[in-house]
C-alpha cells in the first residue's frame, strides 16, 4: 500500500486536526501510526477509510486519487476493511450474521457462498463455537476477533485498525495482536493506529509519528524507535516508555 497526501486539511470548528499534510510515503506492507492522543492519528485513518471528508487537499492510494463524492466513497469503503477501537459489531445480530451482512448486502454474495466464506473464517479464528452468539454474550477479545473476521471476509485491498486493543485487558490484547501479526505474516497490507509501542516496533515495517495534525516524523519502524530525530518524538517516546 502506497499513500500520498497533498495539502490535506481538516478542522472541527476552530480546532485543526489535520494541518496541511503533504508527503509521499514509500510502498509498505504494515504501517504503524503512533503519537499523542488528539494529535490527528484517528482522523488520518478515518480519512483513508473514506469515513471523513477533508476540508481540502488530496489523498492517493496506490497512485489512485481518492474522490470524495458519496458514490466513490461508498465503493472505496467497500474495498477496504476497517476495525475500530470499540469493536462496533451490531448488537442485534449474531456473530455469524455480523459477518454475513456486508458479504450479502454490500458485496453481492449469495447466501450459501457467504455462509461458506463466513464459516471458514470463523473456523480459522477458532470462533466457530460462538457463531450464534450475540456480541453481548462474547468477551471483548472475542468481539474484536469477530470484527476482524468481518473485515477480512470481504477480501479487502488492505486493512485499517484504529486502536484495536485500547478497550481490552492485557490478555485479550495479546489475543488480538497475535491475529494482526498473523495477518501481516500472510502478506496482507495493513495500517494500524496503536498505543502499543512494542507491537508497532516489531510488527510494522514502517512507522508514522503524528502530532499536532502533522506527520512529524516517518521512517522504517526500527529506525524511528532507535534513533528518533525530532524533539517531539523523543519527548513522546520518553513519556510512553517510562513505565
Amino acid at each position: 500500500m502506497q499513500l500520498s497526501f497533498k495539502n490535506l486539511m481538516k478542522s472541527y470548528g476552530s480546532r485543526r486536526v489535520l494541518n496541511d499534510i503533504t508527503i509521499d510515503l514509500p510502498d509498505t506492507r504494515a504501517m504503524a501510526v503512533i503519537g499523542p492522543s488528539g494529535g490527528g492519528k484517528t482522523t488520518l485513518l478515518r480519512t483513508i477509510a473514506g469515513l471523513e471528508r477533508p476540508d481540502c487537499g488530496q489523498l492517493s492510494i496506490d497512485g489512485e486519487l481518492l474522490q470524495f463524492d458519496d458514490a466513490s466513497l461508498l465503493l472505496h469503503r467497500r474495498s477496504i476493511g476497517t476495525v475500530f477501537q470499540a469493536f462496533n459489531l451490531f448488537p442485534h445480530l449474531t456473530a455469524l450474521e455480523n459477518i454475513l451482512l456486508p458479504l450479502e448486502q454490500a458485496h453481492g454474495y449469495r447466501h450459501p457462498e457467504a455462509m461458506e466464506a463466513a464459516e471458514s473464517i470463523l473456523k480459522r479464528f477458532q470462533l466457530e463455537g460462538h457463531a450464534d452468539k450475540k456480541p453481548a454474550q462474547l468477551s471483548g477479545g472475542q468481539q474484536q476477533r469477530i470484527a476482524i473476521a468481518r473485515a477480512i471476509a470481504i477480501k479487502p485491498r488492505f486493512l485499517l485498525f484504529d486502536e484495536p486493543t485500547s478497550a481490552l485487558d492485557p490478555e485479550m490484547t495479546s489475543e488480538v495482536l497475535d491475529i494482526i501479526g498473523e495477518l501481516r505474516d500472510e502478506g496482507r497490507d495493513l495500517l494500524l493506529v496503536t498505543h502499543h509501542m512494542g507491537f508497532a516496533r516489531t510488527a510494522a515495517d514502517y512507522c508514522l509519528f503524528v502530532a499536532d495534525g502533522r506527520i512529524v516524523e516517518n521512517g522504517p519502524a526500527e529506525q524511528l524507535f532507535a534513533e528518533p530525530k525530532s524533539k517531539e518524538l523523543r519527548q513522546f517516546l520518553g513519556r510512553v516508555m517510562r513505565y
Binding site: 469515513l51 469503503r77 456486508p102
Partner: protein, 264 residues
Amino acid sequence: MGNMLSAILSQPEDGSAPPLLSRIVAFTTVLLLISVLFWFAFNQLQYGWNWGAVWQYRQKFLQGWLTTLLISAAALCLSLLISVFFALARRSRLLPLRYLSLLYIEVVRGTPLLVQILVFFYVVADAVGVSNRYAVGILTLALFAGAYLSEIIRAGIESIGESQLESAAAIGLTRLQTYRFVIFPQVVRRILPPLTGQFASLIKDSSLLSIIAVSEFTLNAQEVNAFTFSTLESYLPLAVGYLLLTLPISLFSRYLEQKYRYAT
C-alpha cells in the same frame, strides 16, 4: 420506611421471574382487593339497575364496537406509514422537508384532537369535496397519532449510537441499507412499549369521532343511554369493550419484547 422503598424498587439480581405460585397468589390478591373496593363503592350507590333495557340494544353495541375496531385498525396502519415518513423527513438533508415535519408535529401535538376533527371535517374535507365522514375520521385520527408516533420513532432512531452508523458506513452499506438492516430492527425493539401505548391511545381517541356522527362504539353507547336513561348500564359495557381492544395489544407487545430481547 427506607427499607420498604428499596424493597419496592429493587429487582431480583439474577433477573429471574418469581415462582409461578407466588405470582398467582400475588395477582389474585391485588385483583381481589380492587374488586372489593369497587364492590363497596357500587353497593353504596342508590341506583336502580336496569340491564334489561340496555340488553335490547346489544346489536347496537356490537355494531359500534366493530366500527371502532375497523376505524382503529385502518387509522393504525395509516398512522404508521405517516409517522415513518415524518420521522425520516425530520432527519432529512432537505430543509423544507425537515420544517414541514417539525410544523406538522408541533401543530398536531399542540392542539386538541376535538378541534382537529372539526376543522378537518367541516373545513378541509368540505373544501376538497370529501363527504365520507368515516374516511375523514380515519385520516384525522391517523394524522393525530402519526405526530406522536413519529416523535417516538425519531427518538428510537437517535438512540442508535453513532458508532453503529459509522460501522455500517465502514462495511459499505448504503443509507437505505443502514436503515433497513441496522437501524430499524433495533428501533422496533426499543420503541415497542411506547408504540403500543400510543396504539391503545389511538383506539380510545377514536371515541371523539362521535362528534362528527361517526357511528362508533361511544356514539352508540351515548344513544343507548339517551333511549333508556340507564347511564351506567350503557357506559360500563363501553369500558369493557375498549379493554377488549387494548389488552390484546399490550399482551402482544409483551410477547414481542420477550422474543426480541438482547442485551446491548
